[in-house]
Every structure is written in C-alpha cells, then in structure tokens.
C-alpha cells in the first residue's frame, strides 16, 4: 500500500522534468523571441514567472498548483488544461471500459474453454491466436480492420466518435466504437487467454480441487467457488501489471481511429510540443495506472485469503 508514495513522487518528478527538457526559452517564447525584449525586461519576466528560483522550489510551486486544480493553459489555444484533459479522459474511459469488459469476458471464457480441454483442437486454435495477437502491432491491426470493414465492405465508420450532424444517435456511437474496441481487444487478449488457460489447468490438477470434486459438490459450486477465484488470481495480478502497457496500446488506437480521447490529445501535444498539456496527461495517466495497480492488488488479496497476511507490511 505504502509503495504508491514513491511511485507518485517519481511520477510527478518525471512529469515536471518534461517542462525542464522542453526545447526553447519559455520567457522568450512569450514575445516571439529574445531579440524583442530588453535584458531588464527579460530578467523581470523571469522573476515574475518564478524561473529564477531554485528548481526544487519551482517543482514545489508547480505541484501545489496541480493540487489546487490550476493545471496551466494549453500553448496551442490558451484553453484551461484541466478542462481539456478531463474531457479527453471521459471519452477515453468509454473506449477503455468497453475494451476491458470484452477482454475480461473473452479471457475467462476462452481461457476456461481451452484450459478444460487441454491439447484438443480448440485449445490449439485459441493458443495460436493468442500467440499471433501478442506479436501484432495495434496500429497495424487498426489499419487492416479499417481496410476491411470501412474501405472494402463499408460496414463500419473508420474515424471519430460519431458521424458529424448525427451526434445523438446511440446506434451511430456504438458503430464508431466497434473497430477501436476490436483492435484493442485483439491485440491484448492473447496473453490474458494464455494466463487463464494455464491457471485453470493448474487448479484442475490441484489437490484442494480434487478433494472438492470428490466430495461430490455441484458443478456450478465447483466452478464459481473453487475454480474461478483461484484461476483468476494470476490474471488480475497480470492485469494490474499490464496497465502501463495497455496505456500505450490505447493511445495509438485512439490516434489511428481519430478517437478524441486523452491519447490522441497526448500525441497531438507531443507532435506540436505543447508541453504543459504533455505534463498534465503524463501525470493524470500515471496516477490512474498506479491506482489501477493498487486496485488489482487489493482484488487479489480479497480473492486469495492466503495473501492477506502479507499486506500488513
């Protein structure tokens, strides 16, 4: 639990460093170049912006502002960054939510199916698909899906969150979700299926499970009380670990499909070197990932009483 304090500290330092390594002179950029201001003006503006203070003090002020909800303004259009980021986050969470739901259901379903039928042909098919999915770059799969379903078959839209002029339609929004969700699911579900498959097999041959089966418990009790909680523990641990990786995958998928979420915001900001926005996105995403890790840890402890003792540290 206490481990998240150094994590958050390191994260905030790294986010702060983005400003420090960003190219260009922030003071000079205010008026379009150093030659447009006198030396005295330059010094005065630097002092007003607090740039003459020690770096640690600057970091402290920045951090305090963040906590107070003042995240600065975007270089590109002068809008409040907090509003931009929170709106992007809302849009992204729709995508992430649907993707995670599908990944979890597929991983449990396919993993259970393959694990209980080890070395049968469905098992081989699922395992092969899992291997291929692990080797496929998300952006490329996105392009291929657009090629098939938008360009050739013209079944599904290729970009955006809704068709212009028809913003309200639920069916329209759902259609825009299909391809991005499919891309994220197909590129991330592989390792999940393999993991669930492996742990289902482990549990099936474990003594406690055989004993439970020998007691003649009902099939549903066996699956719901004995098999799934134990088989899902490694999956949840892994899910917590893989949040940082998932972030990269989602960002690139948003880029390919023009999904107006935090990932596209981030990549646009990176390309236009809009560093205040970059700092905010890194910080917000990082905090969410760290919280995600924590939730996964707690969930594992809740599922597996054996681990509860270890959490007193």
């Amino acid at each position: 639990m206490l481990g998240i304090i150094p994590q958050l500290m390191l994260l905030s330092i790294l986010a702060f460093l983005i400003m420090k390594v960003a190219p260009g002179d922030p003071v000079a950029s205010l008026v379009g170049g150093r030659e447009f201001m006198t030396e005295a003006d330059y010094q005065r503006v630097s002092r007003n912006l607090g740039l003459d203070r020690p770096v640690l003090v600057q970091y402290g002020i920045w951090f305090e502002n963040i906590l107070n909800g003042d995240w600065g303004r975007s270089i590109a259009d002068g809008r409040e960054i907090r509003g931009i980021v929170l709106e992007g986050l809302r849009v992204t969470l729709v995508l992430v939510g649907f993707s995670w739901l599908t990944i979890t259901l597929l991983a449990i379903g396919a993993g259970y199916w393959a694990g209980t039928r080890a070395h049968s042909w469905p098992d081989y098919v699922i395992s092969t698909l899992a291997l291929v999915s692990f080797a496929t770059p998300a952006f490329w799969l996105g392009l291929i899906l657009i090629l098939i379903f938008s360009v050739r078959l013209e079944w599904l839209p290729s970009a955006g969150q809704s068709t212009l002029g028809r913003e309200g339609g639920l069916a329209d929004q759902a259609a825009h979700l299909v391809l991005p969700v499919m891309t994220i699911v197909l590129t991330h579900v592989g390792p999940c299926i393999r993991l669930v498959r492996g742990s289902v097999r482990d549990v099936l041959s474990a003594d406690f499970f055989r004993a439970a089966r020998a007691r003649g418990l009902a099939r549903t009790t066996l699956i719901l009380r004995y098999l799934l909680p134990n088989a899902l523990t490694p999956f949840i641990t892994w899910a917590g670990f893989s949040f940082p990786l998932l972030v990269g995958g989602i960002f690139i998928v948003e880029w390919v499909f023009g999904w107006p979420g935090i990932g596209r915001l981030f990549l646009q900001a990176a390309i236009s070197r809009n560093y205040p926005l970059l700092m905010a996105v890194v910080l917000v995403t990082g905090v969410l990932v760290i919280i995600g890790n924590l939730v996964a840890d707690l969930l594992v402890a809740w599922l597996n009483p054996k681990l509860r003792r270890g959490h007193g540290r």
Binding site: V21, L143, I144, P244, L245
Partner: protein, 295 residues
Amino acid sequence: MEDDVRMVVRLPGVIQLIRAMPLFFRHRLARAGFWVLAVIAVLSLFGPLWFGNDALTPDASRIYSPPSAGHLLGTDQLGRDLFLRILEGGRVSLLTGLAATLLATFFGCLYGIASGMARGWLDRILMGFLDALISIPVILLVIVSQAFGESSLLKVTLVIALASWMGTARMMRTECRTLMEADFIKAAIAGGASSIRLVFRHLLPNALAPLVVVVTVGVGQAILLESTLSFLNLGVPATVASWGNLLGNGMSSVLSGAWWVVLFPGLSIVLTVLAINLIGDGLRDTIDPKHRSQY
C-alpha cells in the same frame, strides 16, 4: 580449493545452452520460428546487395501498382518496389531492435547485479526506484523525448533501451539473490574472490540461461516499439526505411485502396515478432526443466 570449485561451476550456463540445442531443435514451434527468422534476417541483411537498388528510385509512372510479376508485392506511394523496401526496412528494424535490447540487457544486468549483491539500504533504494518506474507508463516519456529534438537512429535505439531494461534488472536481481545463497558462491567468497571475479566467473555464467530467454523476447518487443514510434513519425528518421516508417502514411494508402502497402510491411513485423516469441518459448521450455513436460 577455489580451483576445484571453479572446475565444477565454471560453465554451467553455457553448458545448459549447448545441451539445450538438440532439444531446442526438436521443439517444433521453436524450430519453425528459428527458420522463419533466419530467412527474414538473411534476406534483409543481404537482399539489398543481391537485388540492387534500381527499383528503389522513385518512379511516377508506377505509383501504387498492385502486386504483379514485375513487382512481387507491388509498389508504394512513390513507385518504389515494396519487396525491396521491406528488405531495406527489415535491416533497420532488426538491427535497431537487437542493438536496443543488447543495451537494455547490459544496463539491466548492471542494475540487477548491483542490487542483488548489495545488502540493506542500497538494495532497498534501487528496488524501490525500479518498482516505481515499472508502475509508470514509460511509453509516454519515450514519446515525449522523441518529440523534443532531432531524431536519429542512435537516439531511437537509446530511448527504446531506456524503456525496456526494467524486466531484465528485476530478473537478474532475483537470480543473484538465489545464487548468492548457493554453496559454491559462498565457497568462492570464502576463497577470497573479488566482486568482479564473482560477477564474471559465477553470477553471469549461471544466470545466462534465463537471461537468454529474456533477451530473445525483448528483441521482439523492441521491434514492436520501434515500429510504433516510426509509424507516428517519432521513430527512426523519415529518410531511413524501417517497417514502421513504411507504414507511416498507411492511413492515406488504406483510404486510396492500396492494401498491399499496408498489409506486407505489417505482416513482416508480425512474422518476425512471432518467430522471435516462438524461439523464446522454445528456449524457455528446453532450458528450464520446469517447463519441459509441456511439449
């Protein structure tokens, strides 16, 4: 005394690897992966020398021509032969992936061994930092650092390496921890072996087997990362062909219906990474006795 100890433990990592080779080649998937990768690597490294560069000069008369006998995989948006472009890009992608992984391995080993051999506060600080770093989406920092400043092959390689050494470091620390408890290491320490000797004679050779597996899988991941960065124009410079760069304006190719320009470079990435992962799986199965029963 020390000599005897050395006789017994000198090359176990290497011996493990050599012993695993026949087993490795009996592992069907691993063998397939090995040959696929070998063909791709040889074609990429020597193909451009063999086929010449004539078909790589832009030619307005054959922009986006579909696959045909003359151009096996078609031509791209500048009328260049796609097959040759893929071979050219493969050289960059494979070498960048390999170089980045070797760098990451070097740094990861250094960090992991330092942490594994140190006791007390130094180990705690190193591990605390590593844990914190692993929990942060480093990919975002990679993108930021690529967006600021000029891009070059060397910089991409360094950045990919910096984003991927953490797993190796953690694995090496665990290995070192286990090995430091082993009797032969204690004997070596009692015999007065220096730290450097300990690392190069005992720790590294004994940790070689799991290290090889981690490195193999790492190359695949590095290739994926490089292609993603290059696709965003944040990877290798636009003048250099890499598999990611070939897909750089993939969206406009897709929308103009030139499916081959998107399909084939991507398939090369998938095939290569898949082959590397199969080799990694095979190595793990054959080197680590725990996994042997699985195939």
